[in-house]
């Protein structure tokens, strides 16, 4: 008994450490006061102010569009890259290829941001929406690959493509009729992760976003320069809820054990 109680306290401590700041923010988003620190009473005015703030809504829309584009680009490239890694027999430099694909995960984002910016400017490419979406796709790629590759490996081990080709399917038909439908949950799960990564990204956007492209995190940053308004608390709560929804969706799409083919 004593032991499990100690464990319970420990867990409560860890969760408190993780989530208490978020809880405080949540509570104070309903606080009827300009200053954050004192509780004055319940209000929804910060939420209504937020939704009437057209700049803010525009930034929100930009971020959603950006995240969708980045997730789509990363999903296509990630699927093809994983397929190549799993399908092809070991080739020279394969481990380097594997490692290079996960570099964006470990590299300081500042370095990545500066690198992309320098490259685009040198190349004379205008810093438009597409450039930003591609930069975001780059940081999303490792997540997509991690999700898809594991699934493709388990498909490969169960010789399903061999079976399809044995029954008369060409390589392309086997890919479209067997591999792709079975990899779909993993692709969607990777895309949802990518969406969250792109949506909350600040550093890369800060470097690469050209004039006129304002994403949500950039908007928040610029608002904070003029002091923390309770509006920001309200906004953060909205973002938090959106993130939780995505995580829940991701869990729902993640491959269930009984979905994987049996061995």
């Amino acid at each position: 008994m004593k032991k499990s109680r100690g464990m319970g306290l420990y867990c409560a401590g860890v969760f408190g450490f993780l989530y208490l700041p978020l809880a405080v923010m949540f509570v104070f988003s309903f606080n009827d006061a300009r200053r954050n620190v004192v509780w004055k009473g319940f209000t929804l005015k910060w939420y209504s102010a937020l939704f009437q703030n057209t700049d803010m809504m525009a930034a929100m829309l930009t971020s959603v569009e950006l995240a969708l584009s980045a997730a789509a680009i990363a999903a296509v490239i990630g699927m093809l890259a994983s397929y190549a890694m799993v399908k092809h027999k070991p080739f020279r430099g394969r481990s380097a290829y594997d490692a290079l694909l996960s570099v964006p995960l470990m590299m300081p984002e500042v370095a990545l941001g500066v690198g992309i910016l320098t490259f685009l400017v040198r190349a004379g490419y205008e810093l438009d929406f597409f450039a930003l979406a591609c930069s975001h796709a780059l940081i999303c790629l490792p997540y997509t690959i991690a999700a898809v590759r594991a699934r493709l490996i388990s498909l490969q081990e169960s010789s399903l493509e061999d079976a399809a080709m044995d029954l008369g399917a060409t390589e392309w038909q086997a890919f479209v009729k067997v591999t792709l439908p079975l990899a779909r949950p993993a692709i969607i799960s990777g895309a949802l992760l990518s969406f969250t990564v792109s949506f909350q990204d600040f550093v890369t956007s800060f470097f690469v976003a050209g004039i006129g492209i304002v994403t949500m995190p950039i908007k928040i940053y610029s608002m904070i320069k003029f002091g923390v308004s309770p509006e920001i608390n309200a906004l953060s709560v909205c973002l938090l809820l959106a993130t939780f929804t995505l995580i829940a969706l991701n869990a729902a799409f993640a491959v269930r054990p009984d979905e994987a083919s049996r061995h």
Binding site: S159, D166, G168, Q173, H263
Partner: protein, 371 residues
């Protein structure tokens, strides 16, 4: 080549990196034949099957199907279907769609597919399973669906890669007889890969015994058992006592041998065996169940007689294993004999003198091993 040859494989060679997995493998499978590729793991039997299916291409050698060279034909254009070791059923499709997959690829009209799917299911005794999900099936049922999927397209040759390996013993025994019956009814040639010699003996018309990437012997189960050509075949199928011997003399289908340097014996040669050169060292095999043990010196006429010491007995239920010491110069070398399941007929006393005896025709002279 025989006239009714359906599949001919000639001098297949294959290496993965530096290890050679197939070495001049040649094999002919006749129409409607149940051919088993038998051998321990890593012997090349599965690689041979994958080359026939078209999943691997050989480094050398040809594959001919119904007289047509298909060595460079991709797997999806070969009239050959495979039952995979782990079934490889498509988990996102229903049982019916799994079975129809091959026919849809071959552009068989939907109306015909609708009659052929239930037909295939009834052949594997799963009528009414059309709408079931793959995840809801038991191992044995998945096995049957995999089989139905492979035969539904009516291939010329069906390849089976250890298809019963994942089933429990009782189900395996049932499926062995069922598969054999199905094969006879369909008249399709089966090429069946297994490492289980009993399974091979039960089901096959002919067996090709593989070892280290070579075929050691091809023959009917009876031929393989009664006339093993090499010590590997003798030992792998049924087990054998293998001894070394020197040829002393030979004439008119008989040879005189010196066994392990201390027993002289006179044995008949099989018709296909050529007379080994005098003075040559050879290996011979004697099946344990052909070694008779006598506790008194009163042998029937015509047996070869060895004085031996009883070293151990092991009761196995349906048989009794008896370990004998037959050679004074090599006392550590024990001979195994089998006696019937009557345990009271076997003496419990150890280290007692007994007489071991064999029929001369139960002594096989083996060919030299490859390695």
């Amino acid at each position: 080549m025989p006239e009714d040859a359906l599949l001919e494989v000639t001098t297949l060679n294959k290496a993965f990196g530096t290890s050679t997995v197939l070495h001049d493998v040649s094999l002919t499978v006749r129409k409607g034949e149940f051919m088993t590729l038998l051998g321990p793991s890593g012997c090349g039997k599965t690689t041979t099957l994958r080359i026939i299916a078209g999943f691997e291409s050989p480094d050398g050698g040809r594959v001919r199907l119904s007289g047509v060279d298909v060595t460079d034909v991709p797997s999806y254009e070969r009239d050959v279907h495979t039952v995979f070791q782990h079934y490889a059923l498509f988990p996102h499709l229903s049982v019916a769609d799994n079975i129809a997959f091959g026919m849809r690829m071959d552009k068989v009209p939907e109306a015909e597919i609708r009659t052929r799917v239930p037909e295939a299911l009834s052949m594997v005794k799963l009528s009414g399973f059309e709408a079931r999900r793959i995840q809801s099936l038991s191992g044995g049922q998945m096995q049957r669906v995999a089989l139905a999927r492979a035969i539904a397209g009516r291939p010329a040759v069906l390849l089976l890669d250890e298809p019963l390996g994942a089933l429990d013993l009782k189900l395996r025994k049932e499926m062995q007889l069922e598969l054999k019956g199905l094969q006879k009814r369909l008249g399709i040639a089966f090429i069946y890969v297994t490492h289980d010699q009993e399974e091979a003996m039960t089901m096959s018309d002919r067996i090709a015994v593989f070892n280290h990437g070579r075929i050691e012997q091809v023959g009917t189960p009876g031929e393989i058992y009664e006339m093993p050509k090499t010590s590997f075949v003798a030992d792998f199928i049924g087990g054998a006592n293998i001894f070394s011997a020197t040829v002393l003399a030979g004439a008119e289908g008989r040879a005189r041998l010196m066994l392990e340097g201390e027993h002289e014996l006179d044995v008949p040669l099989d018709p296909y065996e050529s007379l080994p050169a005098v003075g040559k060292r050879v290996k011979i095999a004697i099946r344990p169940e052909r070694v008779k043990v006598f506790y008194k010196d009163e042998l029937p006429f015509g047996l070869i007689r060895f004085e031996a010491t009883l070293k151990d007995t092991v009761f196995l239920g349906d048989a009794c294993q008896i370990y004998l010491q037959m050679f004074k110069k090599a006392p550590e070398r024990l001979t195994i004999a089998w006696a019937g399941g009557d345990r009271y007929a076997v003496h419990d006393d150890l280290d007692v003198p007994v007489i071991a005896a064999v029929q001369p025709e139960d002594v096989y002279i083996l060919e030299e091993d490859h390695d």
